[in-house]
Protein backbone atom coordinates (compact mmCIF):
# COMPACT_ATOMS: atom_id res chain seq x y z
CA UNK A 1 0.00 0.00 0.00
CA UNK A 2 1.61 3.21 -1.19
CA UNK A 3 0.72 6.63 0.13
CA UNK A 4 1.39 9.81 -1.79
CA UNK A 5 0.90 13.20 -0.17
CA UNK A 6 -0.40 16.35 -1.77
CA UNK A 7 -1.79 19.69 -0.71
CA UNK A 8 -4.93 19.14 -2.75
CA UNK A 9 -6.34 16.01 -4.35
CA UNK A 10 -9.17 16.58 -6.83
CA UNK A 11 -11.51 13.75 -7.72
CA UNK A 12 -13.02 14.15 -11.17
CA UNK A 13 -11.41 15.32 -14.42
CA UNK A 14 -14.39 17.16 -15.86
CA UNK A 15 -14.25 20.87 -16.65
CA UNK A 16 -14.72 21.81 -12.99
CA UNK A 17 -12.07 19.41 -11.74
CA UNK A 18 -9.45 20.45 -14.28
CA UNK A 19 -10.21 24.13 -13.71
CA UNK A 20 -9.64 23.59 -9.98
CA UNK A 21 -6.44 21.70 -10.67
CA UNK A 22 -5.21 24.53 -12.85
CA UNK A 23 -6.07 27.22 -10.34
CA UNK A 24 -4.56 25.39 -7.37
CA UNK A 25 -1.41 24.54 -9.31
CA UNK A 26 -1.10 28.20 -10.32
CA UNK A 27 -1.00 29.03 -6.63
CA UNK A 28 1.93 26.66 -6.16
CA UNK A 29 -0.10 24.03 -4.32
CA UNK A 30 0.91 20.41 -4.86
CA UNK A 31 -2.07 19.07 -6.75
CA UNK A 32 -3.19 15.60 -7.82
CA UNK A 33 -6.13 15.10 -10.15
CA UNK A 34 -7.85 11.73 -10.44
CA UNK A 35 -9.88 10.84 -13.51
CA UNK A 36 -11.14 7.30 -14.02
CA UNK A 37 -11.94 7.55 -17.73
CA UNK A 38 -11.42 10.22 -20.36
CA UNK A 39 -10.72 13.82 -19.35
CA UNK A 40 -13.89 15.82 -19.80
CA UNK A 41 -15.67 12.64 -20.81
CA UNK A 42 -18.77 13.02 -18.64
CA UNK A 43 -21.20 15.91 -18.59
CA UNK A 44 -18.40 18.13 -19.91
CA UNK A 45 -18.36 16.33 -23.25
CA UNK A 46 -22.11 15.95 -23.36
CA UNK A 47 -22.98 19.58 -22.79
CA UNK A 48 -23.45 22.54 -25.09
CA UNK A 49 -20.33 24.39 -24.07
CA UNK A 50 -21.95 27.78 -23.65
CA UNK A 51 -20.33 30.56 -21.64
CA UNK A 52 -23.28 32.69 -20.63
CA UNK A 53 -24.67 35.01 -18.00
CA UNK A 54 -27.86 33.94 -16.25
CA UNK A 55 -30.13 35.94 -14.00
CA UNK A 56 -32.17 33.26 -12.31
CA UNK A 57 -30.90 34.69 -9.02
CA UNK A 58 -28.40 37.36 -7.98
CA UNK A 59 -26.04 34.63 -6.85
CA UNK A 60 -26.29 32.86 -10.17
CA UNK A 61 -25.67 36.10 -11.98
CA UNK A 62 -22.65 36.93 -9.86
CA UNK A 63 -21.03 33.58 -10.47
CA UNK A 64 -21.75 33.40 -14.20
CA UNK A 65 -20.66 36.96 -14.86
CA UNK A 66 -17.45 36.60 -12.88
CA UNK A 67 -16.66 33.36 -14.63
CA UNK A 68 -17.52 34.67 -18.07
CA UNK A 69 -15.04 37.49 -17.54
CA UNK A 70 -12.41 34.97 -16.52
CA UNK A 71 -13.02 33.07 -19.78
CA UNK A 72 -12.63 36.29 -21.71
CA UNK A 73 -9.30 36.93 -20.01
CA UNK A 74 -8.18 33.40 -20.75
CA UNK A 75 -9.30 33.58 -24.33
CA UNK A 76 -5.99 34.70 -25.78
CA UNK A 77 -4.28 31.61 -24.43
CA UNK A 78 -6.87 29.14 -25.65
CA UNK A 79 -5.69 26.98 -28.55
CA UNK A 80 -7.72 26.87 -31.76
CA UNK A 81 -9.25 23.47 -30.93
CA UNK A 82 -11.12 25.05 -28.04
CA UNK A 83 -13.09 26.98 -30.69
CA UNK A 84 -14.00 29.84 -28.37
CA UNK A 85 -16.49 31.96 -30.20
CA UNK A 86 -18.18 35.07 -28.87
CA UNK A 87 -21.32 34.57 -30.90
CA UNK A 88 -23.66 36.13 -28.35
CA UNK A 89 -27.00 34.86 -27.11
CA UNK A 90 -30.44 35.98 -28.16
CA UNK A 91 -33.25 35.24 -25.70
CA UNK A 92 -36.19 34.97 -28.07
CA UNK A 93 -39.61 36.35 -27.08
CA UNK A 94 -42.52 34.68 -28.81
CA UNK A 95 -45.22 36.94 -27.41
CA UNK A 96 -45.81 40.14 -25.40
CA UNK A 97 -45.52 38.37 -22.04
CA UNK A 98 -42.11 37.11 -22.98
CA UNK A 99 -41.23 40.54 -24.30
CA UNK A 100 -41.84 42.05 -20.87
CA UNK A 101 -39.46 39.46 -19.53
CA UNK A 102 -36.97 40.69 -22.16
CA UNK A 103 -37.35 44.20 -20.84
CA UNK A 104 -36.94 43.04 -17.28
CA UNK A 105 -33.77 41.20 -18.16
CA UNK A 106 -32.54 44.21 -20.07
CA UNK A 107 -32.91 46.39 -17.01
CA UNK A 108 -31.36 43.76 -14.76
CA UNK A 109 -28.26 43.30 -16.90
CA UNK A 110 -27.88 46.98 -17.77
CA UNK A 111 -27.83 47.91 -14.10
CA UNK A 112 -25.04 45.43 -13.59
CA UNK A 113 -22.89 46.54 -16.48
CA UNK A 114 -23.55 43.64 -18.86
CA UNK A 115 -23.89 44.91 -22.44
CA UNK A 116 -27.37 44.02 -23.68
CA UNK A 117 -29.63 45.17 -26.48
CA UNK A 118 -33.37 44.85 -26.95
CA UNK A 119 -34.28 43.55 -30.38
CA UNK A 120 -37.64 44.37 -31.89
CA UNK A 121 -39.38 41.99 -34.28
CA UNK A 122 -37.82 43.48 -37.40
CA UNK A 123 -34.32 43.49 -35.90
CA UNK A 124 -34.70 39.85 -35.01
CA UNK A 125 -35.92 38.91 -38.46
CA UNK A 126 -33.01 40.70 -40.01
CA UNK A 127 -30.25 39.18 -37.95
CA UNK A 128 -31.74 35.68 -37.61
CA UNK A 129 -33.79 35.11 -40.75
CA UNK A 130 -34.28 31.41 -40.05
CA UNK A 131 -36.39 32.12 -36.97
CA UNK A 132 -40.10 31.57 -37.52
CA UNK A 133 -41.85 34.76 -38.50
CA UNK A 134 -44.00 36.37 -35.87
CA UNK A 135 -41.57 36.47 -32.99
CA UNK A 136 -42.06 39.56 -30.89
CA UNK A 137 -38.43 40.34 -30.31
CA UNK A 138 -35.55 39.35 -28.13
CA UNK A 139 -32.65 40.25 -25.90
CA UNK A 140 -29.17 40.16 -27.37
CA UNK A 141 -26.28 39.53 -25.00
CA UNK A 142 -23.25 40.01 -27.24
CA UNK A 143 -20.61 38.91 -24.74
CA UNK A 144 -22.00 35.39 -24.39
CA UNK A 145 -20.00 32.72 -26.15
CA UNK A 146 -19.57 29.03 -26.90
CA UNK A 147 -16.58 26.75 -26.87
CA UNK A 148 -15.76 23.10 -27.45
CA UNK A 149 -15.64 21.61 -23.94
CA UNK A 150 -13.47 18.48 -24.31
CA UNK A 151 -10.61 20.55 -25.75
CA UNK A 152 -11.11 23.28 -23.16
CA UNK A 153 -10.82 20.64 -20.43
CA UNK A 154 -7.73 19.20 -22.07
CA UNK A 155 -6.15 22.68 -22.24
CA UNK A 156 -6.82 23.33 -18.56
CA UNK A 157 -5.42 19.93 -17.67
CA UNK A 158 -2.26 20.47 -19.67
CA UNK A 159 -1.84 23.89 -18.12
CA UNK A 160 -2.19 22.35 -14.68
CA UNK A 161 0.36 19.66 -15.51
CA UNK A 162 2.79 22.32 -16.70
CA UNK A 163 2.47 23.96 -13.31
CA UNK A 164 3.39 20.73 -11.60
CA UNK A 165 0.07 18.98 -11.05
CA UNK A 166 -0.04 15.17 -11.20
CA UNK A 167 -2.67 13.22 -13.09
CA UNK A 168 -3.87 9.80 -11.98
CA UNK A 169 -5.47 8.62 -15.17
CA UNK A 170 -7.64 5.54 -15.29
CA UNK A 171 -7.80 5.29 -11.50
CA UNK A 172 -11.09 4.77 -9.73
CA UNK A 173 -11.68 6.24 -6.29
CA UNK A 174 -13.34 3.87 -3.87
CA UNK A 175 -13.56 6.16 -0.85
CA UNK A 176 -12.63 9.62 0.37
CA UNK A 177 -12.61 11.10 3.85
CA UNK A 178 -10.48 12.56 6.62
CA UNK A 179 -7.80 13.73 4.26
CA UNK A 180 -7.44 10.40 2.50
CA UNK A 181 -8.35 9.23 -0.97
CA UNK A 182 -8.44 5.46 -1.47
CA UNK A 183 -8.06 4.19 -5.01
CA UNK A 184 -9.40 0.85 -6.11
CA UNK A 185 -5.86 -0.38 -6.84
CA UNK A 186 -5.03 0.05 -3.12
CA UNK A 187 -3.07 3.27 -3.62
CA UNK A 188 -3.83 5.89 -1.01
CA UNK A 189 -3.42 9.60 -1.51
CA UNK A 190 -3.20 11.88 1.43
CA UNK A 191 -4.04 15.57 1.38
CA UNK A 192 -5.02 18.47 3.55
CA UNK A 193 -7.83 19.09 1.10
CA UNK A 194 -9.75 16.56 -0.98
CA UNK A 195 -12.00 18.10 -3.61
CA UNK A 196 -15.08 16.22 -4.78
CA UNK A 197 -15.58 17.44 -8.34
CA UNK A 198 -17.27 14.28 -9.48
CA UNK A 199 -20.35 15.93 -10.93
CA UNK A 200 -23.46 13.79 -11.00
CA UNK A 201 -21.51 11.03 -9.21
CA UNK A 202 -20.50 13.30 -6.32
CA UNK A 203 -23.01 11.83 -3.82
CA UNK A 204 -21.48 8.39 -4.27
CA UNK A 205 -18.24 9.70 -2.78
CA UNK A 206 -19.73 12.06 -0.23
CA UNK A 207 -23.03 10.65 0.97
CA UNK A 208 -25.51 13.29 1.93
CA UNK A 209 -24.71 15.75 -0.84
CA UNK A 210 -27.95 16.92 -2.35
CA UNK A 211 -27.01 16.47 -5.95
CA UNK A 212 -29.34 14.67 -8.33
CA UNK A 213 -28.75 13.53 -11.87
CA UNK A 214 -30.62 15.61 -14.41
CA UNK A 215 -30.56 13.98 -17.80
CA UNK A 216 -30.28 16.05 -20.95
CA UNK A 217 -30.41 15.33 -24.68
CA UNK A 218 -28.61 16.97 -27.55
CA UNK A 219 -28.63 16.53 -31.31
CA UNK A 220 -26.02 17.82 -33.71
CA UNK A 221 -26.48 18.41 -37.42
CA UNK A 222 -24.19 18.43 -40.43
CA UNK A 223 -22.64 21.74 -41.43
CA UNK A 224 -24.95 24.60 -42.31
CA UNK A 225 -22.77 27.69 -41.95
CA UNK A 226 -24.76 30.86 -41.47
CA UNK A 227 -27.98 29.07 -40.53
CA UNK A 228 -27.98 30.89 -37.20
CA UNK A 229 -25.45 33.44 -36.03
CA UNK A 230 -26.08 33.58 -32.30
CA UNK A 231 -26.95 31.10 -29.65
CA UNK A 232 -30.75 31.16 -29.56
CA UNK A 233 -32.73 30.38 -26.42
CA UNK A 234 -36.41 30.58 -25.67
CA UNK A 235 -37.50 32.42 -22.58
CA UNK A 236 -39.30 29.29 -21.49
CA UNK A 237 -35.80 27.81 -20.93
CA UNK A 238 -35.89 29.16 -17.40
CA UNK A 239 -39.27 27.53 -16.75
CA UNK A 240 -37.70 24.26 -17.84
CA UNK A 241 -34.61 24.70 -15.71
CA UNK A 242 -36.84 25.75 -12.81
CA UNK A 243 -39.19 22.86 -12.67
CA UNK A 244 -37.89 20.47 -10.10
CA UNK A 245 -39.67 17.23 -10.77
CA UNK A 246 -41.10 17.29 -14.26
CA UNK A 247 -39.55 16.28 -17.58
CA UNK A 248 -39.31 19.23 -19.86
CA UNK A 249 -37.87 20.50 -23.10
CA UNK A 250 -36.90 24.02 -24.11
CA UNK A 251 -35.60 25.52 -27.34
CA UNK A 252 -31.87 26.17 -27.36
CA UNK A 253 -29.78 26.09 -30.54
CA UNK A 254 -26.15 26.92 -30.90
CA UNK A 255 -24.00 27.47 -33.97
CA UNK A 256 -20.67 25.73 -33.57
CA UNK A 257 -17.53 27.07 -35.16
CA UNK A 258 -17.68 24.09 -37.52
CA UNK A 259 -20.99 25.35 -38.86
CA UNK A 260 -22.85 22.49 -37.26
CA UNK A 261 -26.01 23.22 -35.30
CA UNK A 262 -26.24 21.93 -31.77
CA UNK A 263 -29.86 21.46 -30.75
CA UNK A 264 -31.10 21.22 -27.17
CA UNK A 265 -32.42 21.10 -24.54
CA UNK A 266 -34.15 18.66 -22.25
CA UNK A 267 -34.30 17.98 -18.55
CA UNK A 268 -35.40 14.84 -16.77
CA UNK A 269 -35.06 13.65 -13.20
CA UNK A 270 -35.09 10.03 -12.25
CA UNK A 271 -33.88 8.80 -15.63
CA UNK A 272 -30.85 6.69 -14.82
CA UNK A 273 -30.05 5.07 -18.16
CA UNK A 274 -27.90 6.73 -20.77
CA UNK A 275 -30.03 5.70 -23.71
CA UNK A 276 -31.65 8.32 -25.86
CA UNK A 277 -35.26 8.71 -24.82
CA UNK A 278 -37.17 8.76 -28.12
CA UNK A 279 -40.14 10.71 -26.83
CA UNK A 280 -38.03 13.38 -25.16
CA UNK A 281 -35.82 13.76 -28.21
CA UNK A 282 -38.90 14.08 -30.40
CA UNK A 283 -40.43 16.75 -28.17
CA UNK A 284 -37.16 18.63 -27.97
CA UNK A 285 -36.77 18.65 -31.73
CA UNK A 286 -40.40 19.60 -32.23
CA UNK A 287 -39.88 22.56 -29.96
CA UNK A 288 -36.75 23.55 -31.87
CA UNK A 289 -38.60 23.33 -35.19
CA UNK A 290 -41.28 25.62 -33.82
CA UNK A 291 -38.64 28.31 -33.54
CA UNK A 292 -36.52 27.32 -36.55
CA UNK A 293 -38.78 25.62 -39.09
CA UNK A 294 -35.93 25.09 -41.55
CA UNK A 295 -34.28 22.74 -39.07
CA UNK A 296 -36.74 20.10 -40.22
CA UNK A 297 -34.81 19.22 -43.36
CA UNK A 298 -31.32 19.48 -41.89
CA UNK A 299 -29.35 16.30 -41.47
CA UNK A 300 -28.97 15.18 -37.84
CA UNK A 301 -25.83 13.11 -37.55
CA UNK A 302 -25.70 12.28 -33.83
CA UNK A 303 -27.86 12.29 -30.74
CA UNK A 304 -26.63 11.75 -27.20
CA UNK A 305 -27.41 12.23 -23.54
CA UNK A 306 -25.60 13.47 -20.47
CA UNK A 307 -26.24 13.88 -16.77
CA UNK A 308 -26.10 17.30 -15.20
CA UNK A 309 -25.48 17.57 -11.46
CA UNK A 310 -28.48 19.43 -10.03
CA UNK A 311 -28.95 20.90 -6.58
CA UNK A 312 -32.25 21.87 -4.94
CA UNK A 313 -31.57 25.63 -5.14
CA UNK A 314 -29.95 25.58 -8.57
CA UNK A 315 -26.66 26.91 -7.26
CA UNK A 316 -23.47 24.86 -7.19
CA UNK A 317 -21.72 23.62 -4.08
CA UNK A 318 -18.34 25.31 -3.70
CA UNK A 319 -16.53 25.01 -0.41
CA UNK A 320 -15.96 22.94 2.67
CA UNK A 321 -18.26 20.02 3.49
CA UNK A 322 -19.39 20.56 7.09
CA UNK A 323 -19.38 16.84 7.95
CA UNK A 324 -15.71 16.44 7.00
CA UNK A 325 -13.53 19.56 6.97
CA UNK A 326 -10.91 17.89 4.78
CA UNK A 327 -13.46 17.49 2.00
CA UNK A 328 -14.34 20.41 -0.25
CA UNK A 329 -17.07 20.24 -2.84
CA UNK A 330 -16.96 21.67 -6.36
CA UNK A 331 -20.08 20.20 -7.89
CA UNK A 332 -23.78 20.70 -8.60
CA UNK A 333 -23.32 23.02 -11.58
CA UNK A 334 -26.42 21.82 -13.48
CA UNK A 335 -26.36 23.41 -16.95
CA UNK A 336 -23.68 25.97 -16.18
CA UNK A 337 -20.63 23.85 -15.58
CA UNK A 338 -18.60 25.16 -18.49
CA UNK A 339 -19.47 28.77 -17.77
CA UNK A 340 -18.82 28.69 -14.05
CA UNK A 341 -15.87 26.31 -13.97
CA UNK A 342 -13.24 29.06 -13.85
CA UNK A 343 -14.99 31.06 -11.12
CA UNK A 344 -15.61 27.87 -9.16
CA UNK A 345 -11.90 27.17 -9.29
CA UNK A 346 -11.07 30.68 -8.05
CA UNK A 347 -13.55 30.54 -5.18
CA UNK A 348 -12.38 27.09 -4.19
CA UNK A 349 -8.70 28.01 -4.31
CA UNK A 350 -9.44 31.21 -2.36
CA UNK A 351 -11.06 29.20 0.41
CA UNK A 352 -8.29 26.64 0.48
CA UNK A 353 -5.63 29.34 0.73
CA UNK A 354 -7.63 31.63 3.03
CA UNK A 355 -7.95 34.46 0.54
CA UNK A 356 -10.93 36.74 0.05
CA UNK A 357 -12.93 36.12 -3.10
CA UNK A 358 -13.98 38.58 -5.79
CA UNK A 359 -17.66 37.78 -5.13
CA UNK A 360 -19.55 36.73 -1.98
CA UNK A 361 -19.09 33.00 -1.39
CA UNK A 362 -21.99 32.32 0.99
CA UNK A 363 -24.65 31.40 -1.60
CA UNK A 364 -22.52 28.48 -2.82
CA UNK A 365 -21.24 27.14 0.47
CA UNK A 366 -22.24 23.53 1.14
CA UNK A 367 -23.07 24.52 4.71
CA UNK A 368 -26.15 26.32 3.41
CA UNK A 369 -27.76 22.97 2.65
CA UNK A 370 -28.42 22.23 6.29
CA UNK A 371 -30.77 25.15 6.68
CA UNK A 372 -32.24 25.03 3.20
CA UNK A 373 -35.89 24.37 2.54
CA UNK A 374 -36.25 22.13 -0.46
CA UNK A 375 -38.01 23.90 -3.27
CA UNK A 376 -40.82 22.07 -4.97
CA UNK A 377 -42.24 22.98 -8.34
Amino acid sequence: MSVATYDVVIVGGGIVGVACAYECAQRALRVALIEQDVIGGGATAAGMGHVVVMDDSDAQFALTRYSQQLWQELRRELPAEVEYEQCGTIWVAADEDEMSEVLRKHAYYSRRGVPVEVLRALDLERIEPNLRKGMTGGLLIPEDGVLYPPCAAQFLLESALLKGATLYSGSTVSRIGSGQVYLSDATTLSAAVVVNAAGASAPALTPGIEVRKRKGHLVITDRYPGFVHHQLVELGYLKSAHSVNADSVAFNVQPRQTGQLLIGSSRQFGAEHKDVDQEIMWRMLQRAQEYLPALAKTSAIRAWTGFRAATPDKLPLIGQWPADPSVYLATGHEGLGITTSLATARLLADQITGKASAIPIEPYLPSRMASLEHAHA
Binding site: D222, R223, Y224, P225, T258, G259, K297, S299
Partner: protein, 85 residues
Protein backbone atom coordinates in the same frame (compact mmCIF):
# COMPACT_ATOMS: atom_id res chain seq x y z
CA UNK B 1 -26.64 8.85 -77.08
CA UNK B 2 -30.35 8.22 -77.49
CA UNK B 3 -30.92 7.19 -73.88
CA UNK B 4 -29.22 10.22 -72.45
CA UNK B 5 -30.83 12.84 -70.28
CA UNK B 6 -29.58 16.32 -69.44
CA UNK B 7 -28.69 17.65 -66.04
CA UNK B 8 -26.94 20.81 -64.88
CA UNK B 9 -23.68 20.54 -63.00
CA UNK B 10 -22.56 23.90 -61.62
CA UNK B 11 -24.70 25.60 -64.20
CA UNK B 12 -23.34 23.70 -67.20
CA UNK B 13 -25.50 21.22 -69.06
CA UNK B 14 -24.30 17.66 -69.21
CA UNK B 15 -25.67 14.61 -70.96
CA UNK B 16 -25.65 11.43 -68.92
CA UNK B 17 -27.09 7.98 -69.59
CA UNK B 18 -30.52 7.41 -68.16
CA UNK B 19 -30.21 5.78 -64.79
CA UNK B 20 -26.88 7.42 -64.04
CA UNK B 21 -26.26 8.68 -60.53
CA UNK B 22 -25.54 12.29 -59.70
CA UNK B 23 -22.07 11.20 -58.55
CA UNK B 24 -21.37 9.77 -61.99
CA UNK B 25 -22.54 13.03 -63.51
CA UNK B 26 -20.21 15.08 -61.32
CA UNK B 27 -17.17 12.96 -62.15
CA UNK B 28 -18.12 12.92 -65.84
CA UNK B 29 -18.30 16.72 -65.72
CA UNK B 30 -14.64 16.68 -64.74
CA UNK B 31 -15.22 18.26 -61.35
CA UNK B 32 -15.34 17.02 -57.78
CA UNK B 33 -18.12 16.87 -55.22
CA UNK B 34 -17.11 19.00 -52.27
CA UNK B 35 -14.42 20.72 -50.28
CA UNK B 36 -13.45 19.08 -47.02
CA UNK B 37 -13.43 20.77 -43.63
CA UNK B 38 -9.92 22.04 -44.33
CA UNK B 39 -10.72 23.01 -47.92
CA UNK B 40 -9.37 20.00 -49.81
CA UNK B 41 -11.18 18.74 -52.89
CA UNK B 42 -13.05 15.49 -52.35
CA UNK B 43 -15.06 13.16 -54.52
CA UNK B 44 -16.64 9.70 -54.54
CA UNK B 45 -14.87 7.17 -52.32
CA UNK B 46 -17.06 4.23 -51.36
CA UNK B 47 -19.71 4.54 -54.05
CA UNK B 48 -22.26 2.90 -51.80
CA UNK B 49 -23.60 5.62 -49.55
CA UNK B 50 -21.59 5.21 -46.37
CA UNK B 51 -18.59 7.54 -46.57
CA UNK B 52 -20.40 10.87 -47.23
CA UNK B 53 -17.54 12.15 -49.35
CA UNK B 54 -19.75 12.55 -52.41
CA UNK B 55 -22.07 15.10 -50.80
CA UNK B 56 -23.22 17.91 -53.04
CA UNK B 57 -26.23 20.16 -53.38
CA UNK B 58 -29.02 18.70 -55.50
CA UNK B 59 -31.98 20.87 -56.51
CA UNK B 60 -31.18 23.28 -53.71
CA UNK B 61 -30.75 20.66 -50.96
CA UNK B 62 -27.25 20.53 -49.48
CA UNK B 63 -25.41 17.46 -48.17
CA UNK B 64 -27.05 14.99 -50.55
CA UNK B 65 -25.17 11.71 -51.05
CA UNK B 66 -24.92 11.86 -54.79
CA UNK B 67 -23.93 8.22 -55.28
CA UNK B 68 -27.40 7.26 -54.08
CA UNK B 69 -29.39 9.65 -56.26
CA UNK B 70 -30.41 8.81 -59.83
CA UNK B 71 -30.29 11.75 -62.23
CA UNK B 72 -33.57 13.20 -63.33
CA UNK B 73 -33.83 15.36 -66.42
CA UNK B 74 -33.20 19.00 -65.51
CA UNK B 75 -31.72 18.27 -62.11
CA UNK B 76 -29.53 21.06 -60.77
CA UNK B 77 -26.35 19.89 -59.13
CA UNK B 78 -24.01 22.27 -57.31
CA UNK B 79 -20.79 20.96 -55.93
CA UNK B 80 -20.23 22.05 -52.33
CA UNK B 81 -17.03 23.96 -52.85
CA UNK B 82 -18.04 26.88 -50.72
CA UNK B 83 -20.43 25.21 -48.33
CA UNK B 84 -17.95 23.49 -46.10
CA UNK B 85 -15.96 26.57 -45.27
Amino acid sequence: MPDDITVLVNGRTLAVPQGATVAAAIVTAGTYCRDSVKGEPRTVLCGMGICFECRAEVDGKPHQRTCQIICVSGMRVSTQDRMSR
